[in-house]
Each structure stands twice: as structure tokens, then as C-alpha cells.
């Protein structure tokens, strides 16, 4: 008995701050009228409960571990003056606020919520509108960003910011967010071990998701639709891309997924639909592509060079204008057991794979590469004839670039 009470006493002592944390209510008629004031009077581990109303505030610095909760989405209007929240302490939670009118600047990146050098933070259920940068994580660790809605009004790339930006951050989870109409939906630079899951990033000016120099990250089950270009993954290693959807990224320099200088990645179970280019690959090595669906893209895959030891196995290529474009005669990549809707061969031995190999690179895709205007001759009889003759005796297309075992039925 004595021992237990000592233990309880010790535990209470240890977590005392937590257990007796106060709740400070902020509203227009309360004692504490502004959030800044609330932060100032609060002690560590207190909760700020912000009632419904409009708060015209900016540059709110949260410098102690606090939980800031909004009730019925109170509006925090920055009046285009600057940054709204700057979090410089560990263990901060921000929940359920509606932030509007973040200032635009050409010299500093104002954000709706900036987290600087902090750990264990949680940002959830926020609605951010009319913003420059949305959520900006700077040199942070072990944080979570859940269920937020970031809706910008970006028109030009040079004076707009990113929805969710991670810079030199580690072990962050970004989940169930919706990001629209900003420059880059989600942007990662020098950030490792990040998980990006179930987000919807659409109608952004530049990229839905943008990786630079970030390693060991996973993104899965996200949807990227109608962005300037879907996802750009550049100069990164060991990235896993699983079950994402890339849709309707149309335009001259547009693509579902851009890989540039990527090594040892895994791309599995994604779906690329109606993009001008499904995946554009440049200088990327040792990547496994499997179980992806390429449906109705202009080019399913465009390989621009310096890509070695990539394997494409068990993918579906359906109704693409071109399955594959290649700009060199060398091939060190493996295509095997994919389903190609353009395959015209037969399967006499009934083993499920076609008896004659499939050549995914057409002569016409070469011609279009050289003279882009010829695209207008797509699907003409003349083109079919020269494609056929190239198929019979390849001259321009890489001779060994074949799928020796094309599947007869598509992979479910």
C-alpha cells in the first residue's frame, strides 16, 4: 500500500504539469480576447480554447508547449500582413482553426503555420485559405500533419507559395490532407523518413508533390489530379511510391510522374490515367516498376536517357497513344510479363504469355520525338504501315527492347 502511494505520488509529480494543466478560453467577450494574449498568459502544457469568432492577428509566436483548439472553426484573419502562427517549441498541438489572408512577400516565405526546430507537434483539422505558404515545417522532427485543407488562390508561379512544405525535417507523417490551387501541393527538400498518405493534391500550378534531395520517404494512396505536372521526384534515393493515382496532367511539359536522378526506388500499384506523359524518366537507376496501370496516356513512359537496370514487370499498358518512347539505341532495362493492349500476337501453347515478343517502341514515336508536328498523323494508315515494317525489321528502335513474355490478359 505504502509503495503504491509513493509510486502514485511520484507519477503525479512527474506529470503534474499535464494533469493540472489549465484551459484558457479565448473569445471576443472573454477575459482573454486575443490569441497572442492567450499564449502570453498560458503556462506550459495549457490548452487554449478558441471560441467561434474572428480574430485579426498575425505573427503569433507559440514558444511553449501548448494545445490550441478552435471551437467551430474560429476565423483567424491575417489581413495580408504576414505570418500567422510561428511555432518554436516542442509538443505543440494546433487543431480546428480557419486561417485566412496570409501575407505575401518576395523576401520572406510567410506561412499560415510555420514550425521551426520543434519536435512532437500535431497540426490537424485546419482550414487554410488565401495563403502564401500553408504549413511550413523547418528543421522539425517527429511531427504529424493530419486532415488539413489548404486552398490557395495562386495564379502565377513567381508570387505563390507551397501548400505543405518540409525543409530539413525528419520522421513526419502527412496524412489525409487536401491541397488545392497553390504552387506545389506538397514540397519536400532535404527531408528524410517522411510518410505521405491519402492526400489529395489537385489543381496546383506546378507539382502536386515535389521531392528534392529527400531520401527514404514513402508516399502511398495519394491522388494527384489536374496539376501543372503530377509529381516530381528529383535527386532522391530509396523512395517508395505505392498505390497513388496520377490523373489528367495535361500539357506540353506535363507528366504524371517525373523521375530525375532517382536511385533504388520502388513504384508499385500506381495508376496513371490520361496524362500527357505517364512517367518521364531521366538518369534513374535500379527502380522496380510493378503492378502499375497506365491507361489512356499520351505516352505511358518516356525514357530520356541514362537509365539503367530498371525493371518493368506485371504492369498494364492500356490504350495509350504510345506505350514507350526511347531516345537512344541502348537498352539496359527489363520489360517482362506486362500486359499491352496494343499487342497483336497469339498464345498457341496456352501458357498465358504471347508467343511472339512485343516491341513497345514504335518508329512513329521516334519520328514524333524528332518532328513534333507529325503527331497529327497519329493512327493514320501510312503510319501503321511504316510501324509494321519497323516491327518486322527494327532499324531505328532498340533491337533488344522487347517484352519477350507479354501477357495475354490484363493483371487485375
Amino acid at each position: 500500500m505504502g509503495k503504491i502511494s509513493v509510486l502514485v505520488g511520484f507519477v503525479l509529480l512527474l506529470f503534474g504539469n499535464h494533469l493540472w494543466a489549465r484551459t484558457i478560453t479565448v473569445c471576443n467577450t472573454c477575459e482573454v480576447k486575443t490569441i497572442k494574449e492567450g499564449v502570453a498568459v498560458a503556462a506550459d502544457y495549457d490548452t487554449l480554447l478558441i471560441k467561434k469568432g474572428t480574430y485579426r492577428e498575425f505573427n503569433i509566436q507559440v514558444n511553449k508547449p501548448l494545445t490550441i483548439i478552435g471551437e467551430n472553426y474560429p476565423v483567424i484573419d491575417g489581413e495580408d500582413q504576414g505570418e500567422i502562427f510561428t511555432i518554436v517549441s516542442n509538443n505543440v498541438t494546433i487543431d480546428g482553426l480557419y486561417i485566412i489572408n496570409v501575407g505575401t512577400s518576395y523576401t520572406s516565405d510567410y506561412a499560415a503555420i510555420r514550425v521551426v526546430k520543434s519536435e512532437n507537434f500535431l497540426i490537424q483539422n485546419m482550414v487554410l485559405e488565401k495563403l502564401f505558404f500553408g504549413i511550413y515545417l523547418e528543421k522539425c522532427k517527429n511531427g504529424e500533419v493530419y486532415n488539413n485543407k489548404v486552398i490557395g488562390d495562386a495564379v502565377d508561379e513567381y508570387n505563390s507559395g507551397n501548400g505543405i512544405q518540409l525543409w530539413y525535417s525528419q520522421n513526419i507523417v502527412v496524412k489525409n490532407n487536401i491541397v488545392q490551387h497553390v504552387r506545389d501541393g506538397i514540397y519536400l527538400e532535404f527531408s528524410d523518413n517522411i510518410t505521405i498518405e491519402n492526400n489529395i493534391s489537385s489543381d496546383n500550378l506546378r507539382y502536386g508533390l515535389h521531392f528534392m534531395f529527400s531520401n527514404d520517404d514513402i508516399y502511398k494512396n495519394n491522388t494527384f489530379e489536374n496539376n501543372g505536372a503530377g509529381v516530381a521526384v528529383m535527386f532522391s534515393k530509396r523512395i517508395k511510391m505505392l498505390g497513388n493515382t496520377f490523373k489528367k496532367n495535361w500539357g506540353a511539359a506535363s507528366f504524371g510522374l517525373l523521375l530525375k536522378e532517382i536511385n533504388d526506388a520502388e513504384i508499385t500499384g500506381n495508376s496513371f490515367e490520361e496524362n500527357t506523359i505517364g512517367i518521364s524518366i531521366e538518369g534513374s537507376n535500379r527502380i522496380n516498376y510493378s503492378k502499375n496501370n497506365f491507361i489512356k496516356n499520351g505516352w505511358a513512359i518516356k525514357v530520356r536517357g541514362a537509365c539503367y537496370t530498371n525493371t518493368f514487370i506485371h504492369n498494364n499498358f492500356m490504350y495509350n497513344s504510345f506505350d514507350l518512347a526511347y531516345n537512344s539505341n541502348l537498352n539496359d532495362n527489363i520489360f517482362e510479363e506486362n500486359y499491352w493492349s496494343n499487342y497483336t500476337g497469339y498464345d498457341l501453347d496456352r501458357n498465358g504469355t504471347g508467343d511472339i515478343p512485343y516491341r513497345p517502341v514504335k518508329l512513329f514515336s521516334y519520328i514524333v520525338n524528332r518532328t513534333p508536328e507529325t503527331i497529327i498523323l497519329l493512327r493514320s494508315l501510312f503510319m501503321d504501315i511504316i510501324d509494321f515494317s519497323e516491327k518486322v525489321s527494327p532499324v531505328f528502335t532498340p533491337d533488344e527492347l522487347v517484352d519477350a513474355k507479354p501477357l495475354m490478359k490484363k493483371i487485375k
Binding site: 506523359i277 489512356k296 524528332r370 508536328e373 507529325t374 497529327i376 493512327r379
Partner: protein, 260 residues
């Protein structure tokens, strides 16, 4: 004119060839759907058929019908009937029955296969519309050629040549000129060159639906305007109409002045 049209139409309806043509499309439709089990792929295959076969059949049928009914035409010419109504009546009889075979022959299997619930219906109806246009255009071209050539063999030869030129050779020349002049801005040239060939024009019209994502990969502003907005669709359909009206008009014009 209506009477002659009716006569030609019923004459063709009774003839074996319309049935063969109709049954061919019916079979093609069913086989395509049976083998592919998917509407969107069937639509792509069908496009190739429509672009190549429909003009060929229109041409050959038109020439054949004109030469076969020549004696009957001469008999009619002795009657107090307007010349233009004799020829236009015959022309619309042939073109009408061919179009009907095409639309019904392909429409029935696709309708049975649940086209109306699918979103491929717009692609498909566009396909049928261009098919109908191509029939009208190439039958008119064939009638024109036949009218200008008394010699059947020559007329037949010219008609097939016209088809071959428009279906294959034109694209070859087009491609070569694009490659030779690749240093120059070519987007308006290529769009204009497309307008001068009804087969290319119909192909472009269908590409607008099927391959829009690839077409938008090209940077030219004129291309972008043409393919990215409804402008392309409107211009293509208007030009197809023009392609139909001009040969039909010439048919009436030449027929009026010709000395039989």
C-alpha cells in the same frame, strides 16, 4: 428528284450488295465486341476500319452504281426531268443506303452491348458521324470521276487511285514535307494540310476524343488552341461539310452541261 432518290434507294435496298455491306458491319461489330469485351478498345479498332474501309467502299460502290445504271440514266434523260434531279437523286440513293448500312450495322451490336450506359457513347457517335460524312464525300467523288470518264476501266482506275492517294500517299507526302521542313514552324501548315484531306480530317476529329492527352504534348500555340478548345471540333465538322457540298455541287453542275 425525290422519286428518283426513292427508286435508287429501293433498288439498292433490294440488291445483294447492301445486305452484304450491312451484314459485314454487323459481324464486325459483334466480333470486335466479343473478342475485346471492352468498348473503348473496340472503338479504337473501329476507327481504323472506318477511316480506311468506308471511303474505299464508298468509292467503289459509287463508281459501280453509276456505270451499271448508265442505260437507265440515259433512258431517264430522254424524259422531261431536270438533269440535276436525276443525278443527285441517284447519288443520294446510293450514299443514303450505304450510310444506313453503316450506321445500323455498327449501331445494333454496340447498342446491344450496352453502349447507352457506357461513356464511350460520344466517341462512338462521333465515329458514326465521321463514317457517314466519309461515305457521302467519297460517293460524291466517285460519281464525279465516273461522270467525267466514259471509259469504265479508266473511271474505275481513277476512283481507286483517288482513294489510295487520300488514304495512304497523301499522308506519306505530308510526313515527308514535315520532316524536310522541320526547321520551320509547321503547326499551321500541318493543320491546313489536314483540312485538304477528308480522311485526315476525320482522323483528327476522332483523335480529339481518343488521344487528346498526347496531342496536348506538343508546344505550339496554334495546336493548343485547335485541340485544347472546341475550335478544332467546329472547324473540322465545317470543313467536312464543305467537303461534302463541293463535290455534290460539281456533280449537279457538270451533269447539267454534259453532252450525253
Amino acid at each position: 428528284m425525290i422519286k428518283i432518290l426513292k427508286y435508287s434507294f429501293y433498288d439498292l435496298m433490294r440488291s445483294r450488295w447492301s445486305y452484304v455491306y450491312f451484314l459485314f458491319y454487323l459481324l464486325l461489330g459483334f466480333v470486335l465486341l466479343f473478342l475485346n469485351n471492352e468498348l473503348s478498345k473496340a472503338v479504337i479498332t473501329l476507327m481504323n476500319v472506318i477511316i480506311v474501309l468506308v471511303p474505299l467502299i464508298g468509292t467503289i460502290f459509287g463508281v459501280m452504281y453509276y456505270y451499271n445504271s448508265k442505260e437507265f440514266t440515259e433512258l431517264l434523260l430522254a424524259q422531261p426531268i431536270k438533269r440535276s434531279s436525276i443525278f443527285l437523286g441517284q447519288y443520294f440513293g446510293v450514299a443514303g443506303s450505304l450510310t444506313m448500312s453503316l450506321v445500323l450495322g455498327l449501331g445494333i451490336p454496340f447498342a446491344l452491348y450496352g453502349l447507352f450506359e457506357s461513356n464511350a457513347i460520344w466517341d462512338f457517335s462521333l465515329l458514326l458521324i465521321t463514317g457517314a460524312f466519309l461515305t457521302l464525300i467519297f460517293t460524291a467523288v466517285a460519281f464525279n470521276i465516273a461522270l467525267s470518264n466514259e471509259n469504265r476501266i479508266k473511271g474505275f482506275g481513277y476512283a481507286v487511285l483517288a482513294w489510295l492517294f487520300l488514304a495512304v500517299i497523301y499522308d506519306g507526302l505530308f510526313l515527308m514535307s514535315l520532316i524536310v521542313f522541320e526547321e520551320y514552324p509547321l503547326d499551321s501548315f500541318s493543320l491546313v494540310a489536314t483540312m485538304f484531306n477528308p480522311i485526315d480530317l476525320s482522323r483528327t476529329l476522332i483523335l480529339l476524343k481518343l488521344d487528346i492527352s498526347a496531342l496536348l504534348g506538343y508546344t505550339g500555340a496554334i495546336f493548343k488552341q485547335f485541340f485544347g478548345t472546341n475550335l478544332g471540333l467546329v472547324i473540322s465538322i465545317c470543313t467536312l461539310l464543305l467537303w461534302t457540298i463541293i463535290p455534290v455541287w460539281r456533280l449537279g453542275y457538270v451533269a447539267k452541261r454534259k453532252d450525253f
